[in-house]
């Protein structure tokens, strides 16, 4: 398995994990770490907006949908209004088409159903043209 994981160590990509669930935060942080992507973690959409207001910027944002204070749809819309052009991938357990559509229309670049795995994350990177063959 380790031999099949693409190395992005040269790419210097950065990412932001936006999720209120502690288990998911830990997993998504580690998944990104495993692919050599430095990442920060915040607990909800408002914190994601705040971190961008403070001047931070990321290549990729993994955005959960259901969060307190500000959910993923609201946060995605807000970030796009602010002119943030980072790639945003929605990750959620919601599977109904209309829910996915609403999330995509908020400004996502890609979407994956949870639980996130290495192969799903690689798929996101592929879809968003981040994948680098080493």
């Amino acid at each position: 398995m380790a031999g099949e994981v693409p190395s992005l160590a040269e790419s210097k990509l950065t990412a932001l994990v936006v999720d209120d669930n502690l288990v998911n935060q830990s997993m998504h942080h580690k998944l990104l770490d495993r692919l050599g992507i430095k990442n920060d973690v915040v607990c909800n959409g408002q914190e994601a907006v705040d971190v961008h207001c403070s001047g931070r910027n990321y290549d990729l944002i993994l955005m959960d949908m259901d969060m307190p204070v500000m959910n993923g749809i609201q946060a995605t819309k807000k970030l796009r209004e602010m002119g943030i052009e980072s790639k945003i991938a929605g990750v959620t357990t919601r599977s109904k088409e209309e829910e996915k559509k609403e999330f995509m229309e908020a400004g996502l670049n890609d979407f994956q159903e949870k639980p996130l795995t290495i192969s799903k994350l690689v798929s996101i990177l592929h879809n968003l043209d981040f994948y680098v063959q080493t």
């Binding site: 669930n21 288990v23 830990s26 997993m27 580690k30 998944l31 259901d66 357990t93 949870k114 639980p115």
Partner: protein
Amino acid sequence: MQRQVALIKQSLFDQGYLDEQFVELEELQDDANPNFVEEVATLYFKDSARLISNIEQALERGSFDFNRLDNYMHQFKGSSTSIGASKVKTECTMFREYCRVGNAEVFSLFRTCDECRCLRTFKQLKKEHATLRKKLEQYFQASK
């Protein structure tokens, strides 16, 4: 000892307590984080204990707030899915379905039936959760 570890793990999968997502978790464990799986499991049980307590308090209050209960269960299901806790995840799904039906129910008698189903499902969920916790503790202990 290795054989005992393998047997405990196999039985967790064979009995449906864990699914392939747990394997994904194990794939993330490496020399930099040699206890990653146990750390995530510890996080899960701490978080789920909090959710169980919240749900119990909500149920003790007597009035079934299906929306609040569903919200707690959504979080519980999310964590359980991420760690591969298959049986617990199934009970969460059932509980949420009874919440959904109960929330839409107009007749109080049928609503009471949904409340009973919620209580029964929650009891089963706590049982599966406690069993998983015990078995995983054995697994991690044997792995040391």
